[in-house]
Assembly symmetry: none
DNA sequence: TATGAATGAGAATTCATTCAT
DNA sequence: CATGAATGAATTCTCATTCAT
């Protein structure tokens, strides 16, 4: 009685995410969600009491996924390869993540509750990356820049590239990531081991 | 008869931008715009034939502003100071630019025409920055990274930081920009003049 | 441009009143009103911005009618006949007035704005009656009871009888009004002219 | 197994009455009732098979209370004092009774079953009052007016005053009841014992 | 040009009711 | 007896858009 319900709610959230990715956040309506999830509109209101709640739960859902995503890496070069190539793949095959993320960011701009949740999500992601940098047993990657700040800069960079990748025609994502790779290699060598 | 019209249109666009900034893109409606601009809904339809057109013209308006913003800088250190501090100020006092920009990006995600316009806007900004880098008479700022790519990376970084700045609670914008400054100083010294 | 509009609005209010009388206030919906008035739902929202406003304007409409209804009577006996028989006719052929009135009273019970309007309406009706009593050139109809209080009591009585008349099966309205007539004749003779 | 059920039902009815009094009949929903009574919506459907039944049972509940309220009074002056002061107190501290009563009256206007029940309720109250008048051993209180009719008039008056008291701002309830008291004293003395 | 009344499609949300557990 | 998930119809309300003036 309890579990099947939880599963159902997760399904609804998954469907909602699909709606946003496929048709844009502006057409995430209860009607379209109901259609996509093959339930009645009433059912959706039984699970989420408002559209605001629905969007908040989507963010929470993404945040949970981020929590569980904490990687384990030991070699710095490997890390950069992994991190960047994973970022790259996110950009391309999995660009939907950023579509969703950006949409939610924009919706949160004028909604305190959503903003809090987005804030948490970003903090988690910053922490994740920061932890990874810590694990790679360097005191400091770049002179005068803490792991925390570097993580923020890196995540910002990834999000910013996502914006261009999602919108700019013929955006040379691969080349950009190669340049980014070079940049980091350079930085690491300067004051690295 | 021609001029007053153009002026009026510019006013409407300005009002529309204010609407988005103040209440979010989701509540940029013809009603609210009419109210803000103190004209009737019908009037807006005379100037913009649809909501899509309205949003496109907003992007065009921003793009034009970007065109005219091309700076003239000669000293690299000065440039970095200027660029970053201007970015910082944008983030803080003028964060509304990024609210607007991100909102339009998200709306464009599923609209080809808007996407083209956003694409152009970003290209212009990339070119702007690229030109500045060129002007500063260095062959290459960073080994193996073209001016164009560096410009893209920089703009991405600025947009990405904007996202965090707009959403993350107590985001340490100033500190982050200081770290960013250090990072760049470092890069420039490596293979600089 | 102005006048036809006013007329239209009045028509909508009239239709709304009919809806309440025919099907009860609980089924005064925008849908049913639109159907009854042969306009689209949007049109109704163009004229009344909310259901609350619609109901308030109905009360205002009734109030205006009350204002204009001020009678001119000179002979007391005649007045009693007139007043009571008019009340009686209201009860029967025109019982719809009280259906509407009671419905609006109940809706106003938890709505400040409506309550204010109903309050005004009742005060107008009390004043109307009070003025009539004044005109009939008696210092006091009944010893120790001011015209104002007597008017309130009379109007209350009429409303109270309406309740019974509208709900009680086989309510002997005519007989009750005869008794009421006797009562008043009696009172008038006690301390009358 | 039988009793606890009845008790529960009584509690639900009491909760329903509270809902109406606190938020108005239009927001007496199964949801809000379930919330107020701290049970599930389903539970309410076990006790009342429909909303109509619920409202009918509320009226029945009030009617039963009226049945049991039959007073025993012997002195006429005392009666008037009692009756009116009790009416007055109802008006003020216990005005909720009339809120509930009027709400149910209005809902019954277009529902035969409810109307029947309300009709019964009113008849009971009329009879109650009529009996009291009988008990006070007068042939007739007022010449030519039967006890029954006088009871109807009195109850109507009380209901009508309730309407004004519930809606009119700064309604001078106490003064009105004083005037009413004078009126009745007068009537009784005319053709009294 | 400018207005604002009118519209119909569709938005979010609520409701009474059913039913499997 | 009690629960609460599910439903679909209906409700209030908004929107972009049209059009006569």
């Amino acid at each position: 009685m309890a579990k099947p319900n939880i599963i159902k709610k997760a399904q609804l959230i998954e469907a909602a995410k699909q709606c946003v990715i496929e048709n844009g956040i502006e057409s995430l309506t209860f009607r379209s969600l109901a259609a996509k999830a093959n339930v009645s509109q009433g059912t959706i209101y039984h699970h989420f009491q408002s559209k605001e709640r629905l969007m908040i739960e989507i963010i929470e859902n993404i945040s949970e996924a981020s929590w569980e995503e904490l990687g384990s890496i030991s070699d710095s070069k490997q890390f950069i390869n992994d991190a960047l190539s994973s970022a790259l793949s996110r950009q391309q095959s999995n660009s939907s993540f950023h579509q969703l993320f950006l949409s939610l960011v924009v919706m949160s701009l004028h909604n305190k509750q959503m903003k809090n949740k987005i804030s948490n999500l970003i903090k988690i992601e910053n922490d994740n990356l920061s932890n990874i940098l810590h694990k790679l047993d360097k005191d400091q990657w770049i002179e005068g820049i803490s792991h925390e700040h570097l993580a923020i800069l890196l995540n910002s960079l990834i999000d910013g590239i996502a914006i261009q990748s999602l919108t700019v025609e013929n955006f040379p994502a691969e080349e950009i990531f190669e340049s980014l790779y070079k940049l980091f290699s350079l930085l690491i060598n300067i004051k690295g081991d």
